[in-house]
Symmetry: C2
Subunit: 307 residues, 2 copies
Amino acid sequence: MAQIYGKVALIGLGLIASSMAHAMRRGGVAAEISGYARSQATRDTARRIQLCDTVCDSAEAAVEGADLIVLAVPVGAMGVVAEAIAPHLKPGATVIDVGSVKAAVVEAVGPHVPDGVHFVPTHPMAGTEHSGPEAGFASLFDNRWTLIVPPDGADRAAVERVEAYWQALGANCERMEVTHHDLVCAVVSHIPHLIAYTMVGVADDLSRVSDQEVIKFSAAGFRDFTRIAASDPTMWRDVFLTNKEATLEMLGRFTEELFALQRAIRTGDGEELFDYFTRTRAIRRGIIEAGQDTDAPDFGRAKKHDR
Amino acid sequence: MAQIYGKVALIGLGLIASSMAHAMRRGGVAAEISGYARSQATRDTARRIQLCDTVCDSAEAAVEGADLIVLAVPVGAMGVVAEAIAPHLKPGATVIDVGSVKAAVVEAVGPHVPDGVHFVPTHPMAGTEHSGPEAGFASLFDNRWTLIVPPDGADRAAVERVEAYWQALGANCERMEVTHHDLVCAVVSHIPHLIAYTMVGVADDLSRVSDQEVIKFSAAGFRDFTRIAASDPTMWRDVFLTNKEATLEMLGRFTEELFALQRAIRTGDGEELFDYFTRTRAIRRGIIEAGQDTDAPDFGRAKKHDR
Ligand SMILES: NC(=O)c1ccc[n+]([C@@H]2O[C@H](COP(=O)([O-])OP(=O)(O)OC[C@H]3O[C@@H](n4cnc5c(N)ncnc54)[C@H](OP(=O)(O)O)[C@@H]3O)[C@@H](O)[C@H]2O)c1
Ligand SMILES: NC(=O)c1ccc[n+]([C@@H]2O[C@H](COP(=O)([O-])OP(=O)(O)OC[C@H]3O[C@@H](n4cnc5c(N)ncnc54)[C@H](OP(=O)(O)O)[C@@H]3O)[C@@H](O)[C@H]2O)c1
């Protein structure tokens, strides 16, 4: 129960912002929460479920008097939103974003932030395939990492307060340099999503295997790809458009390896396949030990009504 | 509580066989269960946990007097095992296998099956990344599909009894033609596993991103690949060596699509990316509706001690 900021304004009211609202309330992290989303429909929903103390009809109104402003819109919309709210920011306030890409956001948002207002880019490494104001839940960030990417010369106290805020929402924080952030995320998030989308797209597109067969027999492995391939198309379009360099580099490495395995299959090189498949187990063990997944067999897959 | 067979012999005592043993006991499906595995260590473990009524020191001894013989060894070992037990099979008995590939198993096992013994290839479409005699659990097959791939001219009563047996273990059954089976499995299982292995291999191999970073931040998508990439290397080596044609065909389709998306990223074609990412959501919904997964956000991922 530690209040970190007075008024917090959420711009964008999707999965991430709504989870932040629930986690702020759970922890007593903010004195007041205001919110804004682009469409009337989303604002109406947010009002109906009482996601914020007030939902405003403009971003400008929402940021009025706010101590912390959270940009929680798709990466491609960050710049426009920052420009619109800039003249209305309270001196001494802090702006953070939660975008999945950092170099492009820093470039788009940075120039609009007025003197006397702090800008601290952040990225919570947690998510689900659901989106919108009703998708959020208070525990989304618990025991997950939020990356903090402070620009050169950022105010030390402002950055530390942002870290305290994310910790109060349940997250662990780690600082990272902006280019390295975009590379790490290409590996742990962006390329896995692209590959999952591709695999599901291929399966959907076959004439000799029906969608019904794919769906029925998905428990044999395919299913594990479909969760992330159901994520929001706008968000992911923006990610790939704005983290082009790192994703193309990693994609190059991926196809190189895939071709090596393809050749091993074609030539019947069992030893090469066996060795490759053996190496990858250690990473899985590391993830379970680090508490980022559970070891339960097929856990959460068996029943339908667990939500 | 329906006994389907008198004595059942399990050859190979890994994840699949041990799950079958638990499910047989749960349902009273067999009067007696015997077992055999190649190594002394596995047989000792099986005895210690009382997986079977008797664990034998040879496959020949295990199949003595058995009404149903289950070949639950890696696909590449099916032929040798079938050859070894052939002279010891009881007239009228039924042999099934549970291999993940069917054409190669039919070819390797079929010629060894003596006249008067039935051979019905089957494939339970369920699994976890764990292996060995202690990995099994009774509910593995519940509400999952088992594919039945009867050869031309198979005895109708024998096939129906095999179906009743799998149903008694909790599975739904569907018959499928052998070549189609191998193609469907390439799509829903073999290619997803190969891709997951590749992705994890790439991440493991980078010099600019550490394993520790990959592990810490895996919740952002990467994690979903690691479960299947931790599966048994011997099993998967054999799958790719024996289902070469279908996996190479599907791999060709996959890389074709991946290159199209890569080009869209390179040229900044946001519309193409958006459209592609939109199409794939329907399949996910189908899987949830078919009861092959749960819709819970991040379900089973949050806590560590759920097993
Ligand atoms: N989902 C994840 O797994 C995840 C994880 C980490 C970080 N992120 C990042 O978090 C941010 C938000 O993602 P999310 O998952 O919360 O998305 P979401 O559920 O799709 O919500 C996006 C929100 O942004 C609003 N919005 C879109 N364009 C806007 C604009 N031009 N002006 C004002 N509001 C606009 C939307 O309003 P309407 O509803 O009215 O359209 C909606 O409320 C993205 O930058 C994403 O990269 C996402
Ligand atoms: N795991 C899955 O997800 C899954 C799903 C559907 C079908 N399948 C198929 O089911 C079969 C078994 O898989 P599993 O996951 O149960 O494997 P597993 O846990 O690795 O167990 C394999 C068993 O086979 C024994 N074995 C290996 N080579 C042998 C040989 N030459 N002679 C006699 N026994 C031998 C092993 O004995 P030792 O322990 O002594 O080495 C072990 O008991 C495979 O054909 C696989 O394709 C697997």
